[in-house]
Symmetry: none
């Protein structure tokens, strides 16, 4: 599904989107992968007494969905992320279904770079994470 | 590492650090967790012909180590990330050992917020990722 | 369950069976392992509006239980699958408990081969998957 | 990346392809997921003395890549696998890079069904697994 693209194929307004239910399993796996066992993510007793009322997903877990989208936007044939910003706006709970959208907002042809905006919403349409990436398309050096 | 802290316990210059070898397993698990199968991460034949000369870790995988550090800096008793910036400066390959350091650079007491700077270096002392977080310590509402 | 066997030990009617509850975790792990994020498996909102009324397990996840049974039937000392057919008859949902049965239906001694029939039923006795394998027992070359 | 499709959008010759390096991690995870600990997959000492000379991937692990491709071929908006056949032709070892191709070979409009052929090759161009699926596109009932 990853098509090969050249920088010239990219246009402002190009979009990619994915939808995934964030499960308890994702939270457990992300804790194990990063070592982030902050109690609001892995300690239900603590989390229940916190202002969240129960465990929530790591912001960086939810935010990492943009990694997938960035690859779809860039396509194969060279492509790299230079910078990623994420804003964590609302908690995501196990069972929430997140729709993540990436959209090219700016092309910087002299550097073969592009800016991508990310908006992640839950099943109620609430924005939970926003982000922005600076990417580079370096296909000359790629297979 | 996770001690309970109040906002008043935090000081500019407070640091947390962790060191981890990033393995092929981490890359496979992160691909599975996010759905990011961009070929430079999971296709050795493609990656070998790319300018990287072999598979590299997802930037967001390496960057996600800051999630752990942010929790250590904040301590338990309330704490939340509002924003995270990451700059991807050099590729990380399976077998690279990454040392990630977080340091409080600014306190904003009127909002109970703090700024944390992240520096991730490899076993050769090369900086691979840098970042900055804006965090909030909201312990009044926490267990 | 894994005993060493020779081809001469195998008989038509030999059976192996296992029972497992298929969990949301199994589905999340299988999606990550294969990259199969088809929405009826990982997007609860989509799945709820589909004719399934909620997420279902990947057919190949349920079908992969036969891989375990084939090894039990063959035993160690050489053994290999040549062909596997699977028919997906009913959806399997998180929480369903699947009993998988394998049975030798035919021996083909001149080729040291055997045919194995698979029947997978849920906790209500409904057949969810059926299958057939062609296996070979090549113990002369095995440790 | 999963586009919505109607049965009328499908054509004989439509293809989907993916490439993945099969790692030791994938084998360990598949063993855990299925319970298939047959020694040629998980016991390096046994596998080294076998005719394979080392651990090999489960046939059903490699074969499960077709699950991803079938979803890409069908698109969202309803779609289901009725039957899958797999032939295991050559062993796949950790580090082998597998390219899996799916292609629609027949449309059966009166049943809204289609036949899909699968060919999986390694980095040397050797065919390791072939398969065939019978699928159904049932979008009228889908979201």
């Amino acid at each position: 599904m990853l098509e090969r693209k050249r920088y010239e194929d990219l246009k402002v307004g190009d979009r990619a989107t994915l939808t995934r239910t964030i499960t308890e399993t994702d939270i457990v796996l992300f804790a194990g992968l990063t070592g982030d066992y902050y109690p609001v993510h892995v300690d239900e007793e603590y989390a229940r007494r916190s202002r969240f009322g129960g465990r929530i997903a790591h912001g960086m877990l939810v935010g990492s969905l943009v990694s997938t989208l960035n690859g779809w936007i860039l396509g194969t044939g060279g492509g790299i992320s230079l910078r990623q910003t994420l804003e964590f706006r609302k908690p995501v709970r196990p069972g929430d279904t997140i729709t993540a959208v990436a959209e090219i907002t700016e092309l910087i042809p002299e550097k073969r770079q592009l800016r991508v905006k990310h908006t992640l919403t839950n099943q109620r349409g609430e924005v939970v994470v926003t982000g922005e990436a600076l990417e580079m398309k370096d296909e000359e050096e790629a297979p």
